[in-house]
């Protein structure tokens, strides 16, 4: 029986490794990956999915929240991006990735309040169960994922920060997200595809 057991173990190991996906959940997306759609509750109570946007050319998915000072510092700029680019077919979809049971100030009601006070022009979705941010690989707020809608699904084109100066919009030298969307819309190669920034860790 012993050799059989060993063979069985080997088979188990091989089968398991054969079914391990190259980017397992938790690692998140890389440029070129196909991003999953979702069905999440918006602050108006309705659910939103990427597939609802029949005419979109892409999406700027932004993981953001109510209280993070970096998220707050970028709020106006996220609104400006939405206003500018949804006319060109690339709307902002904001998702709050935090677990409100761990950070009560991220509750649905306070999301509604924040959005109303600041005049959000885009959906602000609850990541109920905290499944979407780990799937995408969002690690902080704010964290942007630019997706291009293709016949082969929504493809990740850019991951990272909005621009290179959180402190002072007037001192921005490279507007990463705007440049990436502009390039995507004319079918050019995006120059900077990945950026890093300080942000608030996500409370899952």
């Amino acid at each position: 029986m012993k050799p059989l057991k060993i063979i069985f173990l080997i088979v188990v190991v091989i089968t398991n490794s054969a079914f391990t996906f190259p980017s397992s959940i938790g690692d998140g997306y890389e440029i070129g990956d196909k991003a999953a759609d979702f069905k999440l509750k918006n602050i108006d109570g309705k659910t939103v999915s990427l597939s609802d946007y029949k005419d979109a050319k892409g999406f700027l998915v932004v993981f953001t929240c109510n209280t993070c000072p970096y998220a707050n510092a970028y709020e106006e700029r996220i609104i400006a991006l939405d206003k500018k680019y949804k006319l060109k077919g690339v709307p902002v979809i904001a998702i709050n990735p935090n677990n409100p049971s761990k950070s009560p100030e991220e509750s649905f009601e306070q999301m509604q309040e924040r959005a109303a006070n600041k005049g959000y022009t885009f959906p602000y979705l609850v990541d109920k169960g905290q499944n979407i941010s780990p799937l995408y690989g969002a690690q902080r707020t704010p964290h942007c994922f630019l997706l291009e809608k293709t016949s082969n699904g929504n493809i990740v084109k850019y991951i990272g920060a909005i621009d290179d100066n959180y402190q002072d919009e007037a001192a921005v030298e490279t507007a990463y997200v705007a440049n990436a969307i502009d390039a995507m819309l004319v079918g050019e190669e995006i120059q900077i595809k990945n950026t890093k920034a300080i942000g608030c860790s996500i409370k899952l």
Binding site: Q139, R140, D164, Q167, A171, K196, A197, I198, G199
Partner: protein, 184 residues
């Protein structure tokens, strides 16, 4: 030529009759000054401000100390929660060639209103410096290639070893990691 940066932290104690508090100033010896880009003074607290280039020299380990460098901010809840562990490390290991540097990533314009009162209220004893460098995409990968930029994050570094952690620490976990550096 390789620049040798020797860093010496001079502890300046302010004897303060009113509060009996001890305040530290991070100062650099005068062989190779790593000058902060600014120094914020408020009452009996002094916070040196660095951009990344000067900060990098500050933790260039050409000396025999082990540095525990924690990236934090007053607005970051998990950071604030783990600060007592770093303070405890400072207390317990200050005689053993260990320096704790709390690198605040608070917004520079919030220093007077938020950071200084926070340091006072919590009576922080470790060195607090402010890292003011908005070009984060340039310097975050220099701290560690795998750092997403989320805080808290910590480096433990000495002349033999360097480890980066993008996580929260308990005192026991932090001490466990530090012991590996000290016994090396």
């Amino acid at each position: 030529m390789k620049t040798i940066v020797t860093i010496v932290f001079i502890v300046v104690l302010f004897g303060c009759k009113e509060s009996n508090s001890e305040r530290k100033v991070v100062a650099i010896n005068n062989f190779n000054m790593v000058e902060p880009i600014d120094i914020i003074k408020a009452k009996d607290i002094t916070i040196p401000v660095y951009d990344y280039d000067s900060f990098e020299k500050l933790i260039a380990t050409n000396d025999t100390k082990t540095y525990v460098v924690n990236f934090w901010a007053t607005w970051c809840k998990p950071c604030v929660e783990e600060l007592p562990s770093f303070e405890k490390i400072y207390d317990k290991y200050k005689g053993q060639n260990v320096e704790v540097i709390l690198v605040s990533l608070d917004f520079p314009k919030k220093v007077d209103d938020v950071l200084v009162p926070f340091i006072e209220k919590n009576k922080l004893k470790s060195n607090v410096i402010l890292l003011d460098d908005p070009k984060q995409n340039r310097w975050i990968p220099k701290v560690d290639k795998d750092w997403s930029g989320a805080i808290p994050a910590t480096i433990i570094i000495n002349e033999n070893n360097r480890s980066f952690y993008e996580k929260s620490f308990t005192f026991i976990e932090l001490e466990d990691q530090l012991k590996g550096f000290i016994t090396n």
